[in-house]
Amino acid sequence: MTMSAKGFWTSTPGARIFGLLVTLAVLGVVEAAIRADIVNAFIVPLPSQIAAAIPRIVAEENVLYRFWQTTQEIFAASVLLALVGVGLGVLLYSFRTLRLACETWVAALAAAPVVLMYPLFLVIFGRSATTIVMIGFAAGIAPVILKTVEGLAGVRPVLIDVGRSFRVSPAQQFRLILLPAALSSVFVGLRLGLVFAMINIVGVEFLINFGGLGQLINDLAERYDLPGTYAAICFVVAISIVFYVMTGKVERRLRPHQ
Protein backbone atom coordinates (compact mmCIF):
# COMPACT_ATOMS: atom_id res chain seq x y z
CA MET A 1 0.00 0.00 0.00
CA THR A 2 1.63 3.18 -1.15
CA MET A 3 0.98 6.49 0.52
CA SER A 4 2.39 9.82 -0.55
CA ALA A 5 4.79 11.45 1.87
CA LYS A 6 2.30 14.24 2.51
CA GLY A 7 -0.45 11.68 3.03
CA PHE A 8 1.58 9.97 5.69
CA TRP A 9 2.53 13.07 7.61
CA THR A 10 -0.96 14.50 7.70
CA SER A 11 -2.52 11.24 8.87
CA THR A 12 -3.02 10.77 12.57
CA PRO A 13 -0.08 8.47 13.28
CA GLY A 14 2.12 10.57 11.02
CA ALA A 15 1.13 13.75 12.83
CA ARG A 16 1.74 12.12 16.18
CA ILE A 17 5.24 11.15 15.12
CA PHE A 18 5.74 14.70 13.91
CA GLY A 19 4.71 15.97 17.33
CA LEU A 20 7.11 13.60 18.98
CA LEU A 21 9.94 14.69 16.70
CA VAL A 22 9.23 18.34 17.45
CA THR A 23 9.33 17.63 21.17
CA LEU A 24 12.65 15.87 20.81
CA ALA A 25 13.93 18.72 18.66
CA VAL A 26 12.99 21.23 21.36
CA LEU A 27 14.88 19.14 23.90
CA GLY A 28 17.83 19.12 21.53
CA VAL A 29 17.73 22.91 21.27
CA VAL A 30 17.61 23.17 25.06
CA GLU A 31 20.59 20.83 25.34
CA ALA A 32 22.56 22.90 22.86
CA ALA A 33 21.60 26.16 24.56
CA ILE A 34 22.80 24.94 27.92
CA ARG A 35 26.03 23.62 26.54
CA ALA A 36 26.57 26.97 24.82
CA ASP A 37 26.01 28.66 28.17
CA ILE A 38 22.98 30.55 26.85
CA VAL A 39 20.93 28.90 29.56
CA ASN A 40 22.34 28.51 33.03
CA ALA A 41 23.15 24.89 33.73
CA PHE A 42 22.39 25.42 37.41
CA ILE A 43 18.80 26.26 36.65
CA VAL A 44 18.13 23.84 33.86
CA PRO A 45 20.25 20.73 33.83
CA LEU A 46 21.15 19.14 30.53
CA PRO A 47 18.30 17.03 29.20
CA SER A 48 20.86 14.31 28.67
CA GLN A 49 21.78 14.52 32.34
CA ILE A 50 18.13 14.29 33.30
CA ALA A 51 17.69 11.25 31.11
CA ALA A 52 20.74 9.68 32.72
CA ALA A 53 19.37 10.45 36.16
CA ILE A 54 16.25 8.39 35.61
CA PRO A 55 17.88 4.97 35.91
CA ARG A 56 19.96 6.25 38.81
CA ILE A 57 16.84 7.39 40.65
CA VAL A 58 15.07 4.14 39.95
CA ALA A 59 18.02 2.18 41.27
CA GLU A 60 18.88 4.26 44.31
CA GLU A 61 15.65 5.64 45.58
CA ASN A 62 13.46 2.61 46.12
CA VAL A 63 11.19 3.80 43.37
CA LEU A 64 9.31 0.53 43.27
CA TYR A 65 8.51 0.69 46.95
CA ARG A 66 7.46 4.32 46.69
CA PHE A 67 5.27 3.49 43.73
CA TRP A 68 3.65 0.78 45.81
CA GLN A 69 3.03 3.23 48.65
CA THR A 70 1.34 5.73 46.37
CA THR A 71 -0.66 2.94 44.74
CA GLN A 72 -1.93 1.76 48.09
CA GLU A 73 -3.05 5.26 48.96
CA ILE A 74 -4.85 5.62 45.62
CA PHE A 75 -6.47 2.24 46.09
CA ALA A 76 -7.73 3.13 49.56
CA ALA A 77 -9.13 6.40 48.26
CA SER A 78 -10.86 4.64 45.38
CA VAL A 79 -12.55 2.15 47.68
CA LEU A 80 -13.87 5.05 49.74
CA LEU A 81 -14.95 6.87 46.61
CA ALA A 82 -16.81 3.85 45.28
CA LEU A 83 -18.62 3.05 48.51
CA VAL A 84 -19.33 6.50 49.89
CA GLY A 85 -19.55 8.41 46.64
CA VAL A 86 -21.87 6.03 44.80
CA GLY A 87 -23.78 5.41 48.02
CA LEU A 88 -24.44 9.09 48.55
CA GLY A 89 -25.34 9.43 44.90
CA VAL A 90 -27.95 6.69 45.21
CA LEU A 91 -29.23 8.29 48.40
CA LEU A 92 -29.61 11.67 46.76
CA TYR A 93 -31.39 10.13 43.79
CA SER A 94 -33.81 8.21 45.98
CA PHE A 95 -35.15 11.25 47.72
CA ARG A 96 -36.10 13.91 45.26
CA THR A 97 -36.40 16.72 47.80
CA LEU A 98 -33.02 15.84 49.24
CA ARG A 99 -31.50 15.84 45.79
CA LEU A 100 -32.95 19.20 44.83
CA ALA A 101 -31.81 20.63 48.15
CA CYS A 102 -28.26 19.34 48.07
CA GLU A 103 -27.25 19.04 44.44
CA THR A 104 -26.00 22.62 44.26
CA TRP A 105 -23.94 22.02 47.38
CA VAL A 106 -22.22 19.06 45.79
CA ALA A 107 -21.61 21.11 42.65
CA ALA A 108 -20.12 23.84 44.85
CA LEU A 109 -17.88 21.23 46.46
CA ALA A 110 -16.67 20.31 43.01
CA ALA A 111 -15.64 23.93 42.49
CA ALA A 112 -13.98 24.39 45.87
CA PRO A 113 -10.20 24.08 46.47
CA VAL A 114 -10.66 21.04 48.68
CA VAL A 115 -6.98 20.13 48.74
CA LEU A 116 -6.23 23.40 50.58
CA MET A 117 -7.66 21.69 53.64
CA TYR A 118 -4.58 19.50 53.88
CA PRO A 119 -3.13 21.44 56.85
CA LEU A 120 -6.44 20.79 58.63
CA PHE A 121 -6.24 17.11 57.82
CA LEU A 122 -2.65 17.12 59.04
CA VAL A 123 -3.93 18.28 62.41
CA ILE A 124 -6.73 15.76 62.49
CA PHE A 125 -4.96 12.72 61.08
CA GLY A 126 -1.34 13.58 61.61
CA ARG A 127 1.45 13.37 59.07
CA SER A 128 0.38 9.98 57.80
CA ALA A 129 -1.01 8.03 54.92
CA THR A 130 -4.50 8.61 56.34
CA THR A 131 -4.23 12.32 55.68
CA ILE A 132 -3.16 11.65 52.10
CA VAL A 133 -5.94 9.15 51.49
CA MET A 134 -8.56 11.43 53.00
CA ILE A 135 -7.47 14.35 50.84
CA GLY A 136 -7.64 12.13 47.77
CA PHE A 137 -11.10 11.00 48.80
CA ALA A 138 -12.33 14.53 49.53
CA ALA A 139 -10.95 15.83 46.25
CA GLY A 140 -12.57 13.11 44.17
CA ILE A 141 -15.94 12.65 45.77
CA ALA A 142 -17.93 15.43 44.14
CA PRO A 143 -17.78 14.10 40.54
CA VAL A 144 -18.62 10.59 41.75
CA ILE A 145 -21.77 11.76 43.50
CA LEU A 146 -22.81 14.08 40.68
CA LYS A 147 -22.29 11.50 37.93
CA THR A 148 -24.11 8.81 39.91
CA VAL A 149 -27.13 11.06 40.40
CA GLU A 150 -26.97 12.12 36.77
CA GLY A 151 -26.87 8.53 35.62
CA LEU A 152 -29.80 7.45 37.75
CA ALA A 153 -31.88 10.51 36.93
CA GLY A 154 -31.07 10.14 33.26
CA VAL A 155 -32.53 6.67 32.84
CA ARG A 156 -34.93 6.85 29.91
CA PRO A 157 -38.47 7.04 31.26
CA VAL A 158 -39.67 4.36 28.85
CA LEU A 159 -37.37 1.81 30.52
CA ILE A 160 -38.95 2.61 33.86
CA ASP A 161 -42.38 2.28 32.23
CA VAL A 162 -41.41 -1.15 30.93
CA GLY A 163 -40.62 -2.16 34.49
CA ARG A 164 -43.89 -0.74 35.72
CA SER A 165 -45.83 -2.53 33.02
CA PHE A 166 -44.31 -5.79 34.25
CA ARG A 167 -45.07 -4.82 37.84
CA VAL A 168 -41.54 -4.88 39.24
CA SER A 169 -40.95 -4.31 42.93
CA PRO A 170 -38.93 -1.22 43.94
CA ALA A 171 -35.92 -3.40 44.68
CA GLN A 172 -36.21 -5.10 41.31
CA GLN A 173 -36.58 -1.76 39.60
CA PHE A 174 -33.39 -0.53 41.19
CA ARG A 175 -31.36 -3.67 40.65
CA LEU A 176 -32.59 -4.67 37.20
CA ILE A 177 -33.31 -1.35 35.52
CA LEU A 178 -31.94 1.76 37.24
CA LEU A 179 -28.53 0.46 38.18
CA PRO A 180 -27.61 -1.13 34.83
CA ALA A 181 -28.89 1.90 32.97
CA ALA A 182 -26.89 4.27 35.17
CA LEU A 183 -23.73 2.17 35.24
CA SER A 184 -22.14 3.93 32.30
CA SER A 185 -22.41 7.31 34.01
CA VAL A 186 -21.32 5.88 37.36
CA PHE A 187 -18.11 4.57 35.82
CA VAL A 188 -17.38 7.91 34.18
CA GLY A 189 -17.77 9.59 37.57
CA LEU A 190 -15.62 7.02 39.32
CA ARG A 191 -12.87 7.45 36.77
CA LEU A 192 -12.98 11.24 37.14
CA GLY A 193 -12.91 10.93 40.91
CA LEU A 194 -10.00 8.53 40.70
CA VAL A 195 -7.99 10.89 38.51
CA PHE A 196 -8.65 13.82 40.86
CA ALA A 197 -7.72 11.63 43.81
CA MET A 198 -4.47 10.55 42.17
CA ILE A 199 -3.47 14.13 41.34
CA ASN A 200 -4.13 15.35 44.85
CA ILE A 201 -2.57 12.35 46.53
CA VAL A 202 0.72 12.81 44.72
CA GLY A 203 0.51 16.57 45.30
CA VAL A 204 -0.03 16.24 49.03
CA GLU A 205 2.74 13.64 49.29
CA PHE A 206 5.00 16.31 47.86
CA LEU A 207 3.71 19.05 50.13
CA ILE A 208 3.87 17.18 53.42
CA ASN A 209 6.99 15.26 52.50
CA PHE A 210 5.43 11.91 53.29
CA GLY A 211 4.46 8.93 51.22
CA GLY A 212 5.66 7.58 47.93
CA LEU A 213 6.35 9.27 44.64
CA GLY A 214 5.41 12.84 45.60
CA GLN A 215 7.68 12.65 48.58
CA LEU A 216 10.52 11.49 46.35
CA ILE A 217 10.37 14.71 44.35
CA ASN A 218 10.34 16.84 47.46
CA ASP A 219 13.25 14.88 48.88
CA LEU A 220 15.39 15.26 45.77
CA ALA A 221 14.56 18.98 45.56
CA GLU A 222 15.59 19.57 49.14
CA ARG A 223 18.83 17.77 48.43
CA TYR A 224 19.42 20.09 45.49
CA ASP A 225 19.82 17.09 43.22
CA LEU A 226 18.76 19.02 40.12
CA PRO A 227 18.92 16.32 37.48
CA GLY A 228 17.36 13.95 39.99
CA THR A 229 14.50 16.35 40.74
CA TYR A 230 13.75 16.90 37.06
CA ALA A 231 14.04 13.18 36.42
CA ALA A 232 11.65 12.34 39.24
CA ILE A 233 9.17 14.94 38.01
CA CYS A 234 9.27 13.47 34.51
CA PHE A 235 8.87 10.02 35.96
CA VAL A 236 5.85 10.98 38.04
CA VAL A 237 4.27 12.82 35.11
CA ALA A 238 4.77 9.73 32.97
CA ILE A 239 3.12 7.54 35.60
CA SER A 240 0.16 9.87 36.00
CA ILE A 241 -0.32 9.84 32.21
CA VAL A 242 -0.30 6.06 32.24
CA PHE A 243 -2.78 6.09 35.12
CA TYR A 244 -5.05 8.46 33.22
CA VAL A 245 -4.94 6.38 30.06
CA MET A 246 -5.36 3.06 31.85
CA THR A 247 -8.33 4.20 33.91
CA GLY A 248 -9.84 5.51 30.70
CA LYS A 249 -9.45 2.12 29.03
CA VAL A 250 -10.89 0.27 32.01
CA GLU A 251 -13.82 2.65 32.13
CA ARG A 252 -14.59 2.09 28.46
CA ARG A 253 -14.25 -1.66 28.83
CA LEU A 254 -16.52 -1.83 31.87
CA ARG A 255 -19.16 0.33 30.29
CA PRO A 256 -22.06 -1.89 29.32
CA HIS A 257 -23.04 -2.20 25.69
CA GLN A 258 -25.12 0.92 25.25
Binding site: V162, S165, F166, A181, P256, H257
Partner: protein
Amino acid sequence: MMATPAQADALLRVEHVSKTFATPDGPVKAVDDVSFNVAPGQFVSIIGPSGCGKSTVFNILGGLLGDYEGRVTVAGETIKGTHPAIGMVFQEESTFPWRTVVENVAFPLEIAGVPKTERLEQAAHFVQMVGLHGFERRYPAELSGGMRQRVAIARTLASKPRILLMDEPFAALDEQTRLLLGDKVLQIQQALQQTTLLITHNLTEAVQLSDRVLVMTYRPGRLKRVVDIDLAHPRDSEVVSSDAFGHYVAEIWHDLREEASRGIQDAESQALHRTR
Protein backbone atom coordinates in the same frame (compact mmCIF):
# COMPACT_ATOMS: atom_id res chain seq x y z
CA MET B 1 -70.72 9.38 21.32
CA MET B 2 -70.80 5.95 19.81
CA ALA B 3 -70.83 2.94 22.00
CA THR B 4 -70.30 -0.53 20.61
CA PRO B 5 -73.13 -2.98 21.36
CA ALA B 6 -72.40 -4.63 24.68
CA GLN B 7 -70.94 -8.10 24.26
CA ALA B 8 -71.43 -10.54 27.05
CA ASP B 9 -68.13 -12.21 26.36
CA ALA B 10 -66.03 -9.06 26.03
CA LEU B 11 -62.60 -9.46 27.59
CA LEU B 12 -61.81 -5.78 27.86
CA ARG B 13 -64.44 -3.24 28.70
CA VAL B 14 -63.76 0.45 28.61
CA GLU B 15 -66.64 2.37 30.13
CA HIS B 16 -67.02 6.13 29.87
CA VAL B 17 -63.37 6.90 30.35
CA SER B 18 -62.43 10.58 30.46
CA LYS B 19 -59.15 12.17 31.38
CA THR B 20 -58.35 15.81 32.00
CA PHE B 21 -54.80 17.10 32.41
CA ALA B 22 -53.83 20.20 34.36
CA THR B 23 -51.54 22.30 32.22
CA PRO B 24 -50.02 25.77 32.69
CA ASP B 25 -52.66 26.99 30.19
CA GLY B 26 -55.52 25.52 32.16
CA PRO B 27 -57.21 22.09 32.24
CA VAL B 28 -57.08 20.16 28.97
CA LYS B 29 -59.49 17.33 28.34
CA ALA B 30 -57.51 14.73 26.47
CA VAL B 31 -60.09 11.94 26.39
CA ASP B 32 -63.84 12.46 26.55
CA ASP B 33 -66.25 9.67 27.48
CA VAL B 34 -64.70 6.87 25.49
CA SER B 35 -66.39 3.50 25.67
CA PHE B 36 -65.70 0.32 23.75
CA ASN B 37 -65.26 -3.41 24.21
CA VAL B 38 -62.80 -5.92 22.89
CA ALA B 39 -63.74 -9.55 22.50
CA PRO B 40 -61.28 -12.36 23.15
CA GLY B 41 -59.01 -13.04 20.20
CA GLN B 42 -59.97 -9.81 18.48
CA PHE B 43 -57.50 -7.44 16.92
CA VAL B 44 -58.73 -3.90 17.47
CA SER B 45 -57.00 -0.74 16.32
CA ILE B 46 -57.53 2.73 17.63
CA ILE B 47 -56.70 5.33 15.03
CA GLY B 48 -56.71 9.08 15.26
CA PRO B 49 -54.71 12.20 14.45
CA SER B 50 -51.84 13.37 16.66
CA GLY B 51 -53.25 14.95 19.75
CA CYS B 52 -56.39 12.84 19.87
CA GLY B 53 -55.53 11.28 23.16
CA LYS B 54 -54.70 7.79 21.89
CA SER B 55 -51.51 7.59 23.92
CA THR B 56 -53.50 8.71 26.94
CA VAL B 57 -55.90 5.82 26.34
CA PHE B 58 -52.90 3.49 26.00
CA ASN B 59 -51.44 4.64 29.30
CA ILE B 60 -54.78 4.43 31.08
CA LEU B 61 -55.48 0.91 29.87
CA GLY B 62 -51.95 -0.13 30.74
CA GLY B 63 -52.40 1.23 34.23
CA LEU B 64 -49.60 3.77 34.01
CA LEU B 65 -51.98 6.70 34.24
CA GLY B 66 -54.46 7.06 37.03
CA ASP B 67 -56.88 9.70 38.17
CA TYR B 68 -59.43 9.35 35.38
CA GLU B 69 -63.18 9.09 35.21
CA GLY B 70 -64.84 5.92 34.08
CA ARG B 71 -63.93 2.29 34.47
CA VAL B 72 -61.81 -0.28 32.73
CA THR B 73 -62.37 -3.95 33.36
CA VAL B 74 -60.52 -7.04 32.26
CA ALA B 75 -62.53 -10.25 32.45
CA GLY B 76 -64.84 -8.48 34.84
CA GLU B 77 -62.09 -7.22 37.15
CA THR B 78 -61.72 -3.44 37.41
CA ILE B 79 -58.12 -2.45 36.89
CA LYS B 80 -56.35 -0.22 39.40
CA GLY B 81 -52.88 0.47 38.17
CA THR B 82 -50.92 -2.06 36.16
CA HIS B 83 -52.63 -5.39 35.72
CA PRO B 84 -50.90 -8.69 35.06
CA ALA B 85 -53.38 -9.52 32.32
CA ILE B 86 -52.39 -6.51 30.25
CA GLY B 87 -49.08 -6.40 28.42
CA MET B 88 -47.68 -3.22 26.92
CA VAL B 89 -45.42 -2.57 23.95
CA PHE B 90 -44.16 1.00 23.83
CA GLN B 91 -43.54 3.28 20.91
CA GLU B 92 -40.01 4.29 21.85
CA GLU B 93 -36.94 2.10 22.00
CA SER B 94 -37.66 0.03 25.06
CA THR B 95 -35.27 -2.88 24.97
CA PHE B 96 -32.70 -2.95 27.76
CA PRO B 97 -29.41 -2.15 26.03
CA TRP B 98 -27.35 -4.04 28.59
CA ARG B 99 -29.19 -7.34 28.14
CA THR B 100 -28.94 -9.72 25.24
CA VAL B 101 -32.02 -10.42 23.14
CA VAL B 102 -32.93 -13.56 25.04
CA GLU B 103 -32.24 -11.93 28.39
CA ASN B 104 -34.52 -9.05 27.39
CA VAL B 105 -37.30 -11.44 26.47
CA ALA B 106 -36.77 -13.40 29.68
CA PHE B 107 -37.24 -10.26 31.77
CA PRO B 108 -40.90 -10.77 32.77
CA LEU B 109 -40.13 -14.39 33.62
CA GLU B 110 -37.22 -13.25 35.77
CA ILE B 111 -39.51 -10.84 37.61
CA ALA B 112 -41.91 -13.68 38.22
CA GLY B 113 -39.13 -15.73 39.77
CA VAL B 114 -38.72 -18.38 37.08
CA PRO B 115 -35.29 -20.01 37.48
CA LYS B 116 -32.62 -19.16 34.98
CA THR B 117 -32.37 -22.14 32.65
CA GLU B 118 -36.10 -22.48 32.41
CA ARG B 119 -36.74 -18.84 31.69
CA LEU B 120 -34.05 -18.62 29.02
CA GLU B 121 -35.56 -21.66 27.35
CA GLN B 122 -39.03 -20.17 27.39
CA ALA B 123 -37.70 -16.84 26.20
CA ALA B 124 -35.89 -18.49 23.32
CA HIS B 125 -39.23 -19.87 22.17
CA PHE B 126 -40.66 -16.36 21.91
CA VAL B 127 -37.51 -15.07 20.25
CA GLN B 128 -38.05 -17.64 17.54
CA MET B 129 -41.71 -16.76 17.31
CA VAL B 130 -40.91 -13.21 16.26
CA GLY B 131 -38.44 -14.49 13.72
CA LEU B 132 -35.21 -13.63 15.49
CA HIS B 133 -33.86 -17.14 15.77
CA GLY B 134 -30.07 -16.98 15.88
CA PHE B 135 -29.99 -13.53 17.48
CA GLU B 136 -30.53 -14.69 21.03
CA ARG B 137 -27.08 -13.76 22.30
CA ARG B 138 -26.84 -10.47 20.44
CA TYR B 139 -27.22 -7.10 22.07
CA PRO B 140 -29.94 -4.66 20.97
CA ALA B 141 -27.31 -2.22 19.72
CA GLU B 142 -26.38 -4.80 17.09
CA LEU B 143 -29.92 -4.98 15.75
CA SER B 144 -31.98 -2.73 13.53
CA GLY B 145 -34.89 -0.68 14.88
CA GLY B 146 -37.44 -3.13 13.53
CA MET B 147 -35.65 -6.06 15.10
CA ARG B 148 -35.51 -4.27 18.43
CA GLN B 149 -39.25 -3.72 18.32
CA ARG B 150 -39.67 -7.43 17.66
CA VAL B 151 -37.65 -8.08 20.80
CA ALA B 152 -39.94 -5.75 22.73
CA ILE B 153 -42.98 -7.58 21.37
CA ALA B 154 -41.49 -10.96 22.20
CA ARG B 155 -40.71 -9.74 25.70
CA THR B 156 -44.30 -8.71 26.29
CA LEU B 157 -45.61 -11.93 24.78
CA ALA B 158 -43.39 -13.87 27.14
CA SER B 159 -45.45 -12.56 30.03
CA LYS B 160 -48.45 -14.30 28.40
CA PRO B 161 -50.82 -11.34 28.74
CA ARG B 162 -54.48 -11.85 28.06
CA ILE B 163 -54.54 -8.50 26.32
CA LEU B 164 -51.69 -7.14 24.25
CA LEU B 165 -51.58 -3.34 24.17
CA MET B 166 -49.32 -1.71 21.58
CA ASP B 167 -48.67 2.02 21.17
CA GLU B 168 -47.54 2.76 17.62
CA PRO B 169 -44.76 0.18 17.84
CA PHE B 170 -43.91 0.55 14.17
CA ALA B 171 -43.96 4.35 14.03
CA ALA B 172 -40.21 4.68 13.63
CA LEU B 173 -39.94 2.14 10.83
CA ASP B 174 -40.06 2.61 7.09
CA GLU B 175 -43.14 1.56 5.18
CA GLN B 176 -41.83 -1.74 3.80
CA THR B 177 -40.48 -2.93 7.12
CA ARG B 178 -43.74 -1.91 8.67
CA LEU B 179 -45.83 -3.98 6.29
CA LEU B 180 -43.70 -7.08 6.73
CA LEU B 181 -43.50 -6.70 10.48
CA GLY B 182 -47.25 -6.15 10.58
CA ASP B 183 -47.61 -9.41 8.70
CA LYS B 184 -45.52 -11.18 11.29
CA VAL B 185 -47.46 -9.70 14.18
CA LEU B 186 -50.73 -10.71 12.62
CA GLN B 187 -49.46 -14.26 12.09
CA ILE B 188 -48.49 -14.52 15.73
CA GLN B 189 -51.74 -12.98 16.85
CA GLN B 190 -53.76 -15.44 14.85
CA ALA B 191 -51.67 -18.36 16.04
CA LEU B 192 -51.98 -17.42 19.67
CA GLN B 193 -55.47 -16.00 19.32
CA GLN B 194 -53.98 -13.08 21.25
CA THR B 195 -56.44 -10.32 22.07
CA THR B 196 -54.73 -7.23 20.78
CA LEU B 197 -55.34 -3.49 20.96
CA LEU B 198 -53.15 -1.46 18.65
CA ILE B 199 -52.82 2.31 18.81
CA THR B 200 -51.76 3.74 15.49
CA HIS B 201 -51.95 6.74 13.22
CA ASN B 202 -51.31 4.65 10.16
CA LEU B 203 -54.41 3.88 8.10
CA THR B 204 -52.98 1.02 6.07
CA GLU B 205 -51.67 -0.66 9.15
CA ALA B 206 -54.98 -0.39 10.96
CA VAL B 207 -56.93 -1.93 8.10
CA GLN B 208 -54.29 -4.54 7.33
CA LEU B 209 -54.17 -5.95 10.82
CA SER B 210 -57.48 -5.36 12.57
CA ASP B 211 -60.87 -6.93 12.86
CA ARG B 212 -62.24 -3.63 14.01
CA VAL B 213 -61.04 -0.06 13.80
CA LEU B 214 -62.05 2.64 16.27
CA VAL B 215 -61.67 6.17 14.92
CA MET B 216 -61.06 8.92 17.44
CA THR B 217 -61.71 12.63 17.10
CA TYR B 218 -59.14 15.32 17.64
CA ARG B 219 -58.86 16.69 21.17
CA PRO B 220 -60.88 16.11 23.23
CA GLY B 221 -60.64 12.52 22.03
CA ARG B 222 -63.99 10.86 21.53
CA LEU B 223 -64.92 7.74 19.71
CA LYS B 224 -66.14 8.98 16.36
CA ARG B 225 -66.77 5.80 14.47
CA VAL B 226 -66.35 2.06 14.57
CA VAL B 227 -65.47 0.24 11.39
CA ASP B 228 -65.62 -3.55 11.22
CA ILE B 229 -63.03 -4.93 8.86
CA ASP B 230 -64.42 -7.94 7.10
CA LEU B 231 -61.32 -9.13 5.33
CA ALA B 232 -60.69 -12.84 5.48
CA HIS B 233 -58.04 -14.47 7.61
CA PRO B 234 -55.31 -15.48 7.06
CA ARG B 235 -54.28 -12.13 5.61
CA ASP B 236 -50.87 -11.11 4.45
CA SER B 237 -49.46 -7.87 3.20
CA GLU B 238 -50.79 -8.70 -0.29
CA VAL B 239 -54.18 -7.70 0.97
CA VAL B 240 -53.21 -4.05 0.69
CA SER B 241 -53.74 -4.24 -3.05
CA SER B 242 -57.29 -5.58 -2.86
CA ASP B 243 -60.38 -3.49 -3.62
CA ALA B 244 -62.03 -4.14 -0.30
CA PHE B 245 -58.91 -2.86 1.39
CA GLY B 246 -59.05 0.39 -0.53
CA HIS B 247 -62.71 0.73 0.33
CA TYR B 248 -62.06 0.45 4.05
CA VAL B 249 -59.14 2.85 3.90
CA ALA B 250 -61.29 5.42 2.10
CA GLU B 251 -64.07 5.03 4.62
CA ILE B 252 -61.76 5.61 7.55
CA TRP B 253 -59.85 8.41 5.89
CA HIS B 254 -63.10 10.23 5.29
CA ASP B 255 -63.56 10.58 9.06
CA LEU B 256 -59.89 10.87 9.90
CA ARG B 257 -59.22 13.67 7.47
CA GLU B 258 -61.60 16.01 9.21
CA GLU B 259 -59.99 15.36 12.55
CA ALA B 260 -56.48 15.60 11.18
CA SER B 261 -57.12 19.01 9.62
CA ARG B 262 -58.56 20.28 12.87
CA GLY B 263 -55.35 19.14 14.47
CA ILE B 264 -53.21 20.99 11.97
CA GLN B 265 -55.26 24.17 12.25
CA ASP B 266 -54.97 24.03 15.99
CA ALA B 267 -51.19 23.63 15.86
CA GLU B 268 -50.88 26.54 13.44
CA SER B 269 -52.92 28.90 15.59
CA GLN B 270 -50.93 27.90 18.67
CA ALA B 271 -47.65 28.65 16.91
CA LEU B 272 -49.07 31.99 15.81
CA HIS B 273 -49.99 32.91 19.37
CA ARG B 274 -46.56 31.97 20.63
CA THR B 275 -44.68 34.31 18.30
CA ARG B 276 -46.72 37.33 19.34
